[in-house]
Symmetry: C2
Subunit: 158 residues, 2 copies
């Protein structure tokens, strides 16, 4: 199985790395990891047995979560590169939040198959990116997603 070598989530600041979807400091979370694959971004994930919609098929909420974190991670990769950095150079990457999430469910998603989310990042504003995602189960395109990702404001939530 291919793995993501330099996932952006591995380099998020320690106090911003508790995300249930993709935070390395969340032991109970999904642990989504997103890296570059050429000019596209890539997240790989094997759903757990409990992530069921009906027996044999993956829960749509898990696909939404995958697309969400893949989206903010992809936006972070893109802005980091624009700023002259790559994940492995040790600089702290920008952290994004999701303003909007859209998921189209195209086909029932079989369980026990690795999911592959591929992303293309479009800058729409210096602090706002659209991430267009396709999710494949094996060779089959099962979902499409759009994440509108915005740079996390200073003092987020304060």
């Amino acid at each position: 199985m291919k793995t993501i070598k330099h996932a952006i989530q591995d380099y998020y600041a320690e106090d911003l790395a508790h995300c249930y979807g993709c935070g390395k400091n969340n032991e109970l979370g999904h642990g989504f990891r997103t890296g570059w694959n050429g000019d596209e971004t890539l997240t790989l994930y094997k759903p757990q047995p409990e992530h069921t919609a009906i027996p044999g098929f993956v829960y749509g909420g898990l696909l939404a979560s995958l697309i969400d974190c893949h989206g903010t991670g992809s936006a972070s990769l893109a802005l980091h590169r624009k700023n002259g950095h790559e994940p492995e150079d040790g600089a702290e990457p920008p952290r994004f939040v999701t303003a909007k999430l859209e998921v189209q469910y195209l086909k029932p998603t079989p369980q026990h198959v690795e999911l592959r989310a591929t992303g293309q990042v479009e800058e729409v504003h210096p602090k706002k990116f659209n991430v267009h995602t396709e999710v494949y189960a094996g060779e089959e395109l099962v979902a499409k997603g759009l994440v509108v990702a915005a740079v996390m404001p200073e003092g987020f939530g304060a």
Copy 2:
């Protein structure tokens, strides 16, 4: 705390009740439960401590999951009522799948607060419903959602 008395998910057919979001037969799942509240639908949920985005705030993927299952549950309630049934009369309700999910994240969602998803169901076709959802954390509107829900096809996924 208010609870949902006659959640539609309690009456889904046993072999369609394993959903990670809302299936009563999924011990590891969220257990979302959706019922009528007047002419609106209602799902209540208290996020678990691990459902974090950044410390103190709820993970957006959990909100997407809540909106997803609240949407299919609301569509099931609406079609069931149209067919002359209420959840507690023992008839098996129709089961829906999500064709499309949209979530707008309006504000950071504080943790340790019960979430309240309220839904309005719009029939767009005899087998297709739009469910418009608002999610409140306490009195604060934190997210808006749209689910396009379609009656689960016979032999789903076959």
